[in-house]
């Protein structure tokens, strides 16, 4: 494929995908809402309640992002700097909270938090940090692990103190990853819905919760549309700021395979650093998870494995045996990861400026499609899932776009949430590829395709592995769109958990917790596995 055709493909396909499966349904429902009856848009906007909701949404998202970084940063440092036994396991463990259904986590938190403290804004922030730790640990930790240490070493030789080295060398190099992680955590907290409803109590509502309330409880589609536009506007500002920041923060930092950069735990000091960095994280993540495991083992007055044995028996709650949910989850997740890696990977190439071009020329000369894509790709994280779901319903209801009941619409919807991760993880890595390497390869006679395959791909592969693992985890844990679209005789794990929770009685409750534990295990195993299948794991140059 020629360079030109390749470049068009890198933004053409993702743009078409987002246009069809994101912009079109969203525009359909907003248009329907604004056209319909209901409060006038101005009334909604001038309502003091709206302002209150917007303000709460913004500050809790900012505070949640901060708290997430406080908890996750030490662990990101440890995983980005040290090699030790169980490193991959710890890294995979952080993803587990990320996939758990909010109801289950909220129930665990309610059981843990001391009386009087279990509702309000504080538990909301703690729960957001719990869910999002993985984003920071893995995006920042992975990027950190591939930073070339020689710059910091040079600074040390020149007499820079550890603090100065961190501030002047490491932090600027890490900046793109920090910005990417912060943007994602902020958007996730910004659109948080279940956590806010359950742990916040009736006083607190995010814009997303209010959109749901208006659309589904009060049937005021117009107010819902106006609110979702307000939300979209806020998100656009965030996206614009972070993409600008990220663009400015790129330094030419040659990335290295982590095998060269990680150091073994040798001294007592190293052991202390690793233990304290991970200890905080493991307690923070481990305790709520342990509560879930304990609850899955409750039988009558004592403990046992009854709930797990029940997983093989058919039940009317699911119309199938519960273990089928594991298979369904894995099938959907595989499909949606494939979509996310292809579409997101191409978009990342486009966003990063294409291959074979130098860093400086890139920013000014990027085609319009590429620039559009850069902002567009983050939007699914920040847009109202409720409205998008309703949009799918009315946008895809007539031939040739009659997809409502098609089974593949589930992985497509899931991949919309996964693609931003792929782009935001892969693009910074790609940007950091030294153009001189590509030029050298071209000079030695390698055609563009070969340059991409043999220069870019190996360097990106680590990021791509992490991104694919994220995509897989997102799809395993995705609930909102899946419960909307998946057929009831093919439930995924989160859907099955939710159905068991909705039925009264101790046995159903234990079954729900048992499935949550299964989801935890499946997530850890698949994350470990997905990261292993990335191409050319080590050893190049």
């Amino acid at each position: 494929m020629s360079s030109r055709a390749w470049r068009r493909l890198t933004y053409g396909l993702p743009l078409a995908f987002f246009g069809l499966f994101f912009l079109y349904p969203l525009a359909s429902i907003v248009e329907r809402g604004l056209r319909g009856a209901g409060d006038s848009p101005l009334d909604v906007l001038s309502n003091p309640l709206t302002r209150e909701v917007v303000w709460f949404t913004v500050w809790q998202a900012g505070a949640s992002t901060l708290l997430t970084f406080v908890v996750a940063f030490p662990a990101a440092y440890v995983l980005g700097r040290y090699r030790f036994r169980g490193r991959e396991l710890v890294s995979a463990l952080t993803v587990v909270p990320f996939v758990l259904p909010t109801v289950v986590v909220a129930l665990a938190f309610l059981a843990l938090l001391p009386a009087g403290m279990e509702r309000g804004w504080l538990p909301i922030l703690v729960a957001h940090a719990f869910f999002n730790v993985a984003v920071v640990v893995r995006i920042v930790g992975t990027y950190w692990a591939s930073l070339d240490r020689r710059m910091a070493e040079a600074a040390a030789t020149l007499g820079a103190s550890p603090l100065a080295r961190f501030r002047e060398v490491t932090l600027p190099l890490l900046a793109p990853a920090l910005a990417a992680a912060a943007a994602i955590v902020f958007l996730f907290s910004f659109t948080s819905f279940g956590v806010v409803l359950i742990l916040g109590g009736p006083r607190y509502a995010t814009i997303e919760a209010e959109v749901y309330n208006q659309a589904v409880r009060l049937f005021d589609l117009r107010a819902a549309a106006v609110l979702s536009l307000v939300q979209l506007l806020c998100v656009l500002v965030v996206v614009w700021v972070t993409t600008r920041l990220e663009g400015r923060l790129v330094f030419l930092a040659p990335l290295r395979p982590e095998i060269d950069t990680l150091r073994r735990v040798r001294s007592t000091r190293d052991t202390l650093v690793v233990a304290s960095g991970l200890g905080v994280l493991l307690v923070f993540l481990g305790v709520p998870l342990a509560v879930l495991v304990e609850r899955s083992l409750v039988v009558g007055g004592g403990h046992g494995f009854d709930a797990y044995r029940q997983l093989g028996h058919g039940t009317s709650v699911l119309l199938t045996e519960p273990w089928h949910a594991i298979v369904n989850s894995l099938v959907y997740a595989t499909a949606s990861t494939a979509i996310a890696v292809v579409v997101g990977g191409l978009a990342a190439v486009s966003v990063a400026g294409g291959s074979g071009r130098t860093q400086v020329a890139e920013t000014s000369a990027r085609p319009l499609g590429t620039r559009l894509l850069d902002g567009l790709v983050l939007l699914p994280l920040g847009v109202s899932a409720v409205m998008l779901g309703l949009g799918f319903l009315i946008a895809f209801d007539t031939a040739p776009l009659d997809f409502r009941a098609s089974p593949w619409i589930v992985p497509v919807a899931q991949s919309l949430v996964a693609i931003p991760f792929v782009v935001r993880i892969v693009a910074p890595t790609l940007r950091s590829v030294d153009p001189r390497q590509r030029e050298a390869a071209a000079l030695l006679g390698a055609p563009p395709g070969r340059v991409r395959r043999e220069v870019d791909l190996p360097i990106v592969s680590r990021g791509l592995g992490v991104a694919a693992a994220f995509a897989f985890a997102i799809s395993l844990g995705e609930f909102g769109a899946t419960v909307f679209l998946a057929r009831p005789d093919r439930p995924t794990l989160p859907v099955a958990i939710y159905r068991f929770l909705g039925r009264p009685g101790e046995t159903n409750l234990a079954e729900a917790y048992a499935l949550a534990v299964v989801l935890m295990v499946v997530t850890m195993l698949s994350v470990l596995l997905v990261e292993r299948v990335r191409p050319n794991r080590a050893g190049w140059f």
């Binding site: 078409a16 309610l110 059981a111 119309l319 499609g369 007539t398 098609s406 009685g505 101790e506």
Partner: protein, 345 residues
Amino acid sequence: MPVLAAAVVVVAAATAAGCGGGGKPGEVVLVTHDSFAISPAVKRAFEEETGLKLRILQAGDAGEVVTRALLTAGNPEGDVLFGVDNNLLARALSGDAFEPYESPELGAVDQALVLDEKHRVTPIDRGDVCLNVDKVWFSKHGLASPTSLDQLTLPAYRKLLVVENPATSTPGLAFMLATIATYGSGWKDYWSKLRANGVLIVDGWEDAYLNRFSGAAGSSGDRPIVVSYASSPPAEVLGRKPEPTEAPTGVVEESCFRQVEFAGVLRGAENPDGARKLVDFMLSRRFQEDIPLEMYVFPAREDAALPPAFERFAVVPDHPLELPPAEIDANRERWVDQWTDTVVR
């Protein structure tokens, strides 16, 4: 590759892979809420009787299901909708989403449940929302279980009640309506007193019942009074191993608010014939007798036999509180706002 070509490829691939929406011939699609359940044997019985395959599409809670049905009126996602309740009825009927159908089985149904005389929707079950009390807790603390709404404002019952937020929960909304049906214009004063007496508000039924209510199996909650269903006591018995001989929880009959669930044939259904057959089946004794153990509500049909646990432990209130659906629909938003102002702010 130009953008347009890429789009065409995506759409073509999508169309080729998908089988399109709606039903296939020989299939009838039931759109319903997440709490719907049917035992596999009963589902099979319908399929064998009619030769139609029954596909079930669960689409969120009752509010979401109605929202979706109104959005897709005339070009529905399925053939029959089940799960509209009397609180949502006026709203659901406002959008011209249903095709009238009077089932021949309707004669066997408690006529008090037939709320739409045009038969656009047909009553299938009733599941009254009532205060539940933890009988064990009350006998342990030497306190009488409450029997009326008034008692809940007394100091003896301080900090004992947990209710769901009517803005986010269906039973929460029903309980608010119960207080409006009881106290008329004085309902807000009643809630001020409840607030002063330490009522706990939570978001949904799961949190209220499974976590906060002391009477639910495995719960560490400390509130012995909760808003739940008339059928929750038998569910407590059936959910425990070994089954207790007496229900550990009971119902405050005076607090019960009527909840009726309806099914209706969707206008524009691909298989209207099959849709009518499905409504008939849902009113048959076979399906009606399957309802209590699957959905923990009571059959609409008067001659349907109840399972033993329901016969022994369930309370079917004779005169539950009611409000006309049109009045509920006209005032729902205002009432919920007023409730929020009174109880939360």
